[in-house]
Symmetry: C2
Subunit: 173 residues, 2 copies
């Protein structure tokens, strides 16, 4: 992926994150990408591809933001993950999870569903690897999803709650 592809992907991601998947026209996306319409269509030959391009870029950035360079201790790592998810919401995803938004906008698109599925699966896999509790990856996923969805409404109180939940789970289950 060269410089212009990266610039397009980042611009598309930002446009969809800010305005949702229904509203932005291709001309809006062109402005956000900072290239001409011809170049935009060269790298993303249809609006559907633009959506996928944005989501793939989003996935890479999210994974890196949440899981790179975690502390070795399991408890500290879980705590750090929750903090980083909250930080991500605060700075990047004030409108909620971009993958769920994309699928919600086009519920019958199998490609988008597959993208959502593989994104969430990788988050779950990495989170389970950190906690070290095999077979309990759903628990951690549920907490992360709950935090992601609750944060826009409750802010940092949702982080406190997520931390309390993960603590109770490790102590009692």
């Amino acid at each position: 992926m060269n410089a212009i592809e990266l610039k397009i992907a980042a611009g598309l991601e930002r446009a969809f994150a800010e305005n949702g998947f229904a509203e932005p026209s291709v001309e809006d996306l062109r402005d956000a990408a900072g290239v001409s319409l011809r170049t935009l269509y060269k790298y993303a030959p249809s609006r559907d591809v633009m959506v996928r391009t944005a989501l793939e870029h989003r996935h890479r950035r999210y994974i890196a933001h949440v899981f790179d360079d975690l502390p070795g201790d399991a408890d500290a790592a879980v705590s750090a993950i929750l903090d980083r998810v909250a930080g991500w919401m605060r700075r990047e995803a004030t409108h909620g999870c971009l993958f769920h938004a994309a699928v919600a906008a086009a519920p019958h698109d199998p490609t988008l569903r597959a993208l959502l599925q593989s994104h969430k699966a990788e988050v779950a896999r990495r989170a389970a690897a950190v906690t070290g509790q095999a077979g309990r990856d759903v628990d951690m996923t549920l907490i992360i999803e709950g935090l992601t969805q609750s944060w826009p409404l409750y802010g940092d109180a949702a982080v406190v709650s997520a931390r309390r939940l993960s603590l109770a789970l490790r102590q009692c289950a």
Copy 2:
């Protein structure tokens, strides 16, 4: 609300739940509502109003489905709530929460945000009243939200996880 208003609201809700908020045209919505275009516009004078009509109807049905006639015992009530949320997902919301989908489709619409907020607030208020734990309404909300978001991917394993989380919370916090 007379019979025809109810018919329109139910049809709109079904159309948006099945196809998302971006895809269905007003003609699709007319077909789903089972009335003429003129009558549809009489009761919902714009497409935005059709969205709000659907969400208000959804809210009433969801609240009734999850919270009506709960058992008196707190533990049994929490368990029943989680079962009913899962049942709702299974039968009605296989594409996820309709309110989040609506806001995701139009992130800058303040009316939709207010509808989402008041819907989630009433769910949280009623759930907190059932658990009897004042000041802990965020915990129960986070579990319900996590279950709602995880169900489309994990199915009943998400219910098991939500139940384990609520149990751990009551025993250890």
